[in-house]
């Protein structure tokens, strides 16, 4: 049913939306991202698609984005598509804050983004967004939450999830090794181990990995921290990875 590929919004004869499935395939070629939910908070670990020494990376993260002070997201897939949706979600979050003077419930933010993604699978003849997200954050109703969304507009809540390259291997690894009631440190360990499984190497280099976590400090405030290169190095060494030194 190749000939049903070209029209994005038509069902193929066996009841599938080929364009959406192609988009999902596209995500599976992209750099991988892992999200882990623990009682103490959320960890994101992702692989940088491109890390040339010519790239000015010091301030800008390609993968991890702050949507509001209480929710962050990680992207796998087409960066340009993702940027648009990130902008949309930031505006939606602030608009909610204007009306209600409160953090937007994360589920509502995810639902809004997914509604937009779904529209492009049904209306207009335009291709779907080639970006999958992991959303993580804290709100007062459900506390720490982790959601994934894909180009079809589906979303789900997870305890641990991997998307992107080799996500099947990573997800089965997570399924075997995830435990309830992990601490933040254990979550970070699990995330980095799962990520290295997707990169399929036992000597990863820190500049290829981006790791961040969200947790509450002693004062009960939400803090989000991206690990710098030294901390990533320590994390890798703590988990017995032979780290490839930068040339």
């Amino acid at each position: 049913s190749r000939r049903y590929d070209t029209k994005t919004n038509a069902f193929s004869s066996d009841g599938r939306l080929m364009q959406v499935e192609n988009a999902l395939e596209g995500i599976n070629q992209a750099g991988s991202s892992i999200g882990i939910l623990t009682d103490e908070g959320i960890t994101f670990a992702c692989e940088r698609d491109v890390s040339s020494s010519l790239l000015e990376l010091s301030k800008h993260s390609e993968e991890i984005f702050c949507l509001d002070r209480h929710v962050h997201c990680v992207v796998s897939g087409l960066a340009a598509d993702a940027n648009l949706l990130i902008e949309v979600s930031r505006v939606h979050s602030q608009r909610f804050r204007y009306s209600y003077r409160e953090n937007i419930p994360i589920q509502e933010l995810v639902r809004h983004v997914c509604d937009i993604k779904q529209r492009y699978t049904q209306v207009g003849g335009q291709r779907p967004f080639g970006a999958a997200f992991l959303f993580g954050g804290w709100d007062k109703t459900f506390k720490f939450q982790l959601y994934s969304s894909d180009p079809s507009g589906n979303f789900a809540g997870w305890k641990a999830i991997a998307i992107g390259k080799n996500h099947v291997a990573a997800n089965s690894f997570l399924k075997e090794n995830y435990q309830e009631g992990m601490t933040m440190t254990q979550g970070l360990d699990l995330a980095v181990k799962a990520l290295c499984k997707t990169i399929d190497t036992t000597n990863p280099s820190p500049d290829k990995l981006e790791i961040m976590y969200m947790t509450k400090n002693e004062a009960g405030e939400l803090v989000a921290k991206t690990l710098n290169e030294k901390e990533v190095l320590e994390l890798l060494q703590r988990n017995n990875f032979q780290v490839k030194q930068k040339e």
Binding site: S99, Y100, R101, P105, Q107
Partner: protein, 189 residues
């Protein structure tokens, strides 16, 4: 002119309104309930133009209920008050709702009272009033209010306020409706 007043006690929020509906030189009704219940823990006591009061009140009530149906999350009083304010603020430059409200509610932050007016003003208060009656009861509320009022003390204060308005206000305000919100829900006194 509608009299609306209210205050916050130890574990309850109380709002009261008069029951009169007047048009031009005529009194239509003496039994109008101007306090709308939103969810089971918020009371919207409204005064102002009759049509706007009903229309705006129902509009806000339904929108807040819609939010709960859509997301499964109940808005707390602060969020509901801010939402109401944002609707009033939008309308002021398009086609104002001539409604002044007191929002009394009880949520995880305890009892609270919010004073809103038709311009989009919002203020969290321990005691407040709208309408011509406000000129009469503000002094009483200031004088007799203290933090952590019990329900009985609160009812005493309400009686004083109603008495004052009935004695001294130009227009006859025969009946009043008084409602409270506690952690157990809404009750009519």
């Amino acid at each position: 002119m509608d009299t609306v007043f209210g205050f916050v006690g130890k574990d309850f929020a109380l709002v009261a309104t008069d029951c009169g509906v007047a048009y031009s030189i005529m009194r239509f009704s003496d039994t109008e309930d101007k306090i709308m219940a939103v969810d089971d823990n918020k009371l919207f006591a409204m005064g102002g133009e009759i049509g706007d009061r009903l229309n705006f009140g129902e509009y806000i009530q339904k929108n807040i209920h819609l939010y709960t149906f859509r997301t499964g999350i109940k808005l707390n009083v602060r969020e509901a008050a801010n939402y109401t304010r944002s609707e009033l603020a939008y309308a002021i430059r398009n086609g104002p709702y001539q409604v002044n409200l007191l929002i009394g509610g009880f949520d995880e932050e305890g009892p609270s009272l919010y004073w809103l007016d038709y311009l989009g003003t919002l203020q969290k208060l321990t005691r407040g009033a709208h309408g011509y009656g406000a000129y009469f009861v503000s002094g009483l509320l200031d004088n007799w209010f203290k933090p952590d009022l019990t329900l009985d003390e609160g009812i005493e204060l309400v009686k004083k306020c109603i008495n004052e308005v009935q004695t001294r206000f130009l227009m006859s305000q025969k009946n009043f409706v008084v409602k409270i919100v506690t952690k157990d829900g809404i009750r009519v006194i």
